[in-house]
């Protein structure tokens, strides 16, 4: 079949569609966003239903509904999104999954665009469901297709664990023919109502199915054991992209070992979970030393080490052989393999540090409305004692860098709202939460209910740029004009709802109005509104593309 150059994320999207997907839901989050962007593009040209949701929990719940109706569904999110969706995820494992349900989670080791490095394989193990971990774009496609089959075979949700470097790397992918969608056919309701009496049976059933899942992973072709003619004394286990980086260095490793009269180590690569225990035992039979190279937190290594003393010497992230944090790459694993750095060019003044290359951290765009909003907040709190400013997840987190330097906390989606309330409860006089419009709709509404219910003296600043900017300008789930009605509907005193245009020329007037609300001893909500400049560009581009005509028929060159 046709070979396409696809991002790992796009390969997942096509894999899902070709597996007979009926509907997909998600919330944007780097590095998972491009899965849904591709699915939505396909939906708009006649493909299966695909839509952004308010948050990851609502997305997963919608997918559960699709599965209940017997049809195949996918949910997409970044790793921390699975925390938000953890409730339907862990409980979903107890259901009798009918239509295949695949949860595509993109982890971000190295925190390129995230607040932590959590490893979703632990979630899959916790919920007792299978996990597939592709390491090439082709595997991303193939294993996505397979994940739906496995989900229906074992009647459980299946986790597809991706990482940044796979999601955002592009390579050729061969696709196979599209399977048709499942017919509409409801699941047995006794397997979908987690009342204690039913839930106990479901949990027992889930435990019972573990053996079959283990058997599947023991036989899975991606879990590849290579022991013939290998060094059985010092062996290697790789998982996910760790396997790629190992293979990248394999030629050098073999050469180095040959010089010393050694052989290539026996090796097991793992990409399908639950952990294939027999394969691990076979690999380690008679082995003295085991090196574990896994992308993410040390799941395999922890299991191997256990608690009690044992005869094997285990190397990995827990004994410092590999760095415990950050992502792996082809260079970082070389010392663990006993290899020196590769020879490289260098510029003496850079190498000896006599010329320090200045860093270039990300920053708010020139002319960004958030910049004006932060300048307004800065001016509004000038001279006030006892101020706390909690912020949130999104582009505006970049207000933590100079010249703004405003937020004091950035934790997780929606945290700014009730952290401001908590700070006020603790005695801070002027607690200010700062949250973007999409983050507010994702997880900011429920804490605002708490604040309004207790009439806490705090101010919530909503930065409404009418778009989900950080992840590449997805549409906000509800239009801006709904925000004020929503906030008033929660019971906010209308006198303390302000809507201001975030504009440099309004700076002083806006700051004065904001200051009044900050001084008010109750809940105020101040909405700063102006369209994101990236969103304007994107909108103009789309409009221009609609007007453009195709050309370039008679030019030479390769097709």
């Amino acid at each position: 079949m046709e070979e396409l150059a696809l991002l790992g994320d796009e390969a997942v999207a096509l894999g899902a569609i070709h597996a007979g997907l009926t509907a997909a839901y998600g919330y944007p989050g780097t590095p998972s966003t491009e899965i849904m962007e591709r699915l939505i593009a396909e939906y708009e040209s006649g493909g299966p239903k695909a839509a952004w949701c308010a948050n990851e929990k609502t997305a997963l719940e919608a997918a559960l509904g699709v599965s209940f109706a017997g049809r195949r569904a996918m949910v997409t999110m970044k790793h921390v999104g699975l925390n938000v969706a953890a409730d339907p995820f862990v409980n979903g494992a107890l259901l009798g999954i009918k239509g295949g349900l695949v949860i595509a989670v993109a982890d971000d080791p190295g925190m390129h665009s995230s607040q932590n490095e959590q490893d979703s394989r632990f979630y899959a193990a916790f919920a007792l469901v299978p996990c597939l971990e592709p390491r090439t774009q082709q595997e991303a496609y193939d294993l996505t297709r397979e994940a739906f089959d496995i989900s229906e075979q074992f009647h459980v949700p299946v986790v597809l664990r991706l990482v940044t470097r796979l999601s955002h790397a592009r390579s050729g992918v061969r696709v196979s023919p599209q399977r048709s969608q499942n017919p509409l056919s409801k699941a047995d309701k006794r397997e979908w109502m987690l009342l204690p009496a039913y839930a106990r049976r479901r949990y027992a059933s889930l435990l019972e199915r573990q053996a079959a899942m283990l058997d599947w992973s023991e036989k899975h072709p991606v879990n590849r054991l290579e022991i013939e003619n290998r060094d059985r004394n010092r062996v290697v286990i790789t998982t996910g992209l760790g396997g790629n980086y190992y293979e990248e260095n394999l030629a050098d490793l073999k050469r180095a070992l040959q010089e010393r009269g050694g052989k290539e180590p026996a090796r097991l690569h793992i990409g399908a979970y639950p952990l294939p225990q027999n394969l691990i035992r076979r690999l380690c039979e008679g082995a003295e030393e085991i090196l574990v190279i896994e992308e993410g937190q040390p799941l395999v290594e922890q299991k191997l080490r256990g608690i009690l003393p044992q005869k094997h010497i285990i190397h990995g992230k827990m004994d410092g052989t590999l760095p415990a944090s950050g992502e792996l790459d082809p260079d970082v694993i070389r010392p663990a393999l006993g290899l020196p750095p590769r020879p490289a060019l260098s510029i003496p003044s850079l190498q000896d540090g006599s010329f320090a290359l200045p860093g270039r951290p990300p920053q708010l765009c020139n002319g960004c409305p958030h910049g004006d909003s932060y300048a307004t907040i800065k001016l509004a709190v000038e001279g006030l004692e006892s101020v706390a400013i909690t912020s949130d997840i999104g582009c505006y987190a970049l207000g933590a860098t100079p010249p703004y330097d405003i937020p004091e906390t950035i934790v997780c989606m929606g945290a700014s709202v009730n952290m401001a309330k908590g700070a006020a409860d603790a005695g801070i006089q002027h607690a200010i939460g700062v949250i973007g419009d999409s983050t507010f709709l994702h997880s900011g509404i429920t804490p605002l209910i708490d604040a309004i219910a207790s009439n806490t003296p705090m101010t919530l600043v909503i930065l409404d740029n009418s778009i989900v900017a950080m992840t590449g300008c997805q549409d906000t789930i509800l239009p801006s004009e709904n925000l004020s009605r929503l906030v008033l509907g929660l019971g906010l005193n209308p006198e303390h709802l302000l809507q201001l245009e975030a504009k440099r020329s309004n700076l002083e007037a806006n700051a004065e109005l904001l200051r009044k609300e900050i001084l008010y001893r109750g809940v105020s909500v101040v909405i700063f509104k102006r369209e994101c400049i990236e969103a304007i560009k994107k909108r103009q581009k789309i409009e221009a593309a609609k007007k453009a005509k195709p050309a370039c028929e008679d030019r030479g060159g390769q097709a």
Binding site: H112, L345, S346, I347, F355, L398, P550, A551, G556, Q558
Partner: protein
């Protein structure tokens, strides 16, 4: 045959479209391609890099190992220096001449140029002037691709075919200007 390339620049400069054009041309040539990109937060005005690996045999890692890059293509001179540790001893650095100044302590440009020129194989291209000459000021990236093209395992005619295909929806004048920009860049690198 393999060519490992590091593409460098500042978020928003269009590094991904440069990578995409070269990658597509390589795929059209029947080469295997792996291209690692940067999305998300660092795209907002920060330093960005992309890894592009072209080969006729299996490519294992999406990331280019340090010391393996045959070519650095940088849209910005300061950024080109950030990744010199990736260059193999026979590697080439191709950088746009124009600085992108969005940080307070941007070093003196002449010092940056002299550091680039201290490398055994380095090309600094006036991408903006040549783009102007092509008739399309936006085509600076295409000038850069042209300047890098002598170091790519892809014939210039094939690159031009790909460029044409990618701009197929644009007006013919835009396509012509892009081709001209490509040729001007190529000529500048060879001069």
């Amino acid at each position: 045959m393999k060519r490992d390339i590091i593409l460098a620049g500042v978020g928003g400069q269009g590094i991904l479209s440069v990578a995409a054009i070269i990658a597509k041309a390589a795929v059209d040539q029947g080469l295997k391609v792996r291209q690692s990109e940067v999305h998300g937060m660092s795209q907002r005005g920060g330093a960005v890099l992309a890894h592009l690996r072209l080969s006729d045999s299996t490519i294992y890692s999406d990331l280019v190992p340090k010391g393996e890059a045959d070519l650095i293509i940088s849209m910005e001179p300061l950024e080109s220096l950030r990744y010199t540790a990736w260059l193999n001893p026979a590697g080439t650095l191709v950088s746009a001449a124009e600085p992108f100044i969005n940080i307070p302590a941007y070093p003196e440009l002449e010092i940056i140029y002299s550091m680039i020129r201290s490398l055994p194989r380095a090309v600094i291209v006036e991408t903006q002037n040549l783009a102007k000459e092509s008739g399309l000021t936006r085509a600076a990236n295409m000038v850069l691709i042209g300047a890098a093209s002598p170091y790519l395992p892809i014939a210039p005619e094939a690159m031009e075919g790909t460029i044409c295909e990618l701009f197929a929806t644009k007006e013919p004048a835009v396509i012509d200007a892009n081709i001209k920009a490509f040729r001007l860049g190529r000529a500048a690198a060879k001069a």
